[in-house]
Symmetry: C2
């Protein structure tokens, strides 16, 4: 090929800058160990820790791939061992967050569902007369009890909001729809006690997916909706669709790969139901009529695609929806405590609720 022809083709392909022609043909996978269908081989490469983040976040990004990311328990007992480990692992941070920020945390029940009431030492004036309902993450299986309330504690601590964190039932004993039933029961009770528009609902990962599923279920049940929601990096499509699941595989050091525990947790949660059921994978539902939403993700997040797909679907439905993406962060790393970017993320979410709640 001549130099000129090479250049011409180069510019045709970089021509998107002025609206270049789409390549004529798809690059098909070959039979040599590659999956069928179009795609491309990405070479191995060295991924440095960026210098465009705080030192605290750089230390998190520098962490190795999560040991055990590819755990795929096959028995209820093995899942329960992992669940117990999740509670143990969370305990230190939970204690440190409570102590550092002087939070008041008490357990309670609402409509028969276990919850934690979290009150900040210094409530934000913007939070007066308002409250946030928190749905925790952990793949719909990890972090039962107070272990799940950490994100709610950070919201109380960093943004000054009172939070009710829902300790919803989870598999292996209580698969879908137990978590959604519990979220609905608490929502129904809260919405009956006060102006629903004065309540916000938030949560990351499975908690973000559950937030979106709750909006579908409440809308379709004719219940009022909250004034605003903040699904963080929502696990909103358990079918495995979404480009960043592949593009950020082994770039994200938290979930690491869709072939890890999250795929097994999806099957555990669905318990034989269709993973594309909108109440399990709300990206397969219709977001019309949803309240204003703030979505949060990171550039390395395995669920970046689910986050931006949810953002786009909300905006296509005419919903006010804001997207925040943090430099270098893997899945849900905006929840890392004692990191400046975490303070920034929770201030953003708190300010969003302050702008939109009644």
């Amino acid at each position: 090929m001549s130099e000129t022809e090479l250049n011409r083709r180069a510019l045709l392909l970089t021509g998107c800058l002025i609206g270049g022609a789409a390549p004529a043909a798809l690059a098909e996978g070959t039979a040599s160990g590659q999956p069928a269908g179009p795609g491309r081989q990405v070479p191995a490469r060295w991924l440095p820790v960026p210098d465009t983040v705080s030192p605290e976040l750089a230390a998190v990004i520098a962490g190795p791939l999560a040991a055990g990311w590819d755990s795929r328990p096959t028995t209820a007992a093995a899942w329960k061992d992992l669940v117990a480990a999740s509670v143990e692992a969370a305990a230190g941070d939970i204690a440190k967050i409570k102590a550092t920020y002087g939070l008041r945390v008490s357990s309670d029940r609402i409509a028969g569902v276990s919850v934690f009431r979290i009150d900040p030492a210094t409530p934000s004036p913007e939070a007066a007369g308002r409250v946030l309902m928190h749905l925790h993450g952990g793949g719909y299986v990890f972090f039962p009890g107070e272990a799940g309330a950490g994100e709610g504690m950070l919201m109380a601590a960093l943004a000054g909001w009172p939070v009710i964190s829902v300790d919803y039932r989870m598999p292996p004993d209580h698969p879908f729809p137990a978590a959604l039933d519990d979220a609905m029961a608490v929502w129904r009770a809260l919405a009956a006690q006060r102006d629903p528009g004065s309540i916000g609902v938030f949560g990351a990962s499975a908690g973000g997916g559950l937030t979106l599923a709750l909006m579908l279920a409440a809308r379709d049940a004719g219940l009022p909706l909250p004034g605003a929601i903040a699904p963080g990096t929502p696990w909103a499509d358990l079918t495995g669709a979404g480009d960043s699941l592949q593009a950020n595989a082994f770039v994200d050091n938290v979930l690491v790969s869709p072939d890890g525990w999250s795929g097994a947790a999806a099957l555990l949660y669905a318990a034989g139901r269709d993973l594309a059921d909108p109440l399990i994978s709300p990206l397969h539902g219709d977001f019309a009529g949803f309240p204003p939403a703030m979505l949060t993700s990171g550039t390395r997040d395995l669920l970046l695609s689910q986050t931006v797909r949810a953002h786009r679907r909300l905006r296509q439905a005419g919903v006010v929806a804001e997207l925040q993406v943090y430099e270098g962060q893997s899945h849900a790393q905006f929840l890392e405590p004692f990191v400046p970017e975490t303070e920034e993320a929770f201030r953003e979410i708190g300010a969003f609720f302050a702008r939109h709640l009644a």
Copy 2:
């Protein structure tokens, strides 16, 4: 290591879902061919084309790496060959866009600078009494003349806005600050002719970086600022900083790698000046007082990090700033003509200007 200890460590590391402890140690690069400093080896892998985009966009994503992505011309003559190829490559799309959408395009001069005036066949009612100034992309070297006006044509065609596209001078004959001087001259003239708040400024890649540099220069010169800006995937840090430059290397099929032509173009443009000069790399400047901004990128974009860093810096400065990220798109692929996601992106930008211009 026991199973329980493995699980405990796994959950500690995935514990970000509840605020996990940061890993204690950095993974350091080794001497075996890896760069110094903390980081991680990412294995080779197959990257399929996602099924979560339109068929038209899937065909773009399925394109091979841009042939010649690693061209690094070392002489002015070699650069000019590439520049001529860029003009040739753009011609077909430019003609097709004009014809398809019935645009009126005329060349003119403002303050001595070559511009193209682009008028839509059917102006949007929201555009009445308003105008947009366009700064094109192409690494500050490609797409002189009408070849650079394609993005402006898409804005006129898809959002119904009248556009003035600036054909600013470029290297090798005219390095920095020629492009910025031309942008400033046109801005000064437009702002003197009409309410500056009724004018929006937009552009992608180098055009996004130049949009931000223009705000710095205009503010610091005491000029009024436009009513809103829309820097698309701004090339706003020519020093090579930013995580996605590495994380999305060989995932992005347009720019492909920071070791490609863009690094050479940065040096060509700066012509010996410090790449960290805020007027060359506006991410090194202060965004206080900037007008409302909408930023656009894609999940595979090599400049995703520059886009989200600019978004965060704007919000930290108290500026209204909205972020749009499109599923599966590489650098500036929201400019691909005749793709549904492109129509969506320009409708978003047009609506943003409609909300914020005087």
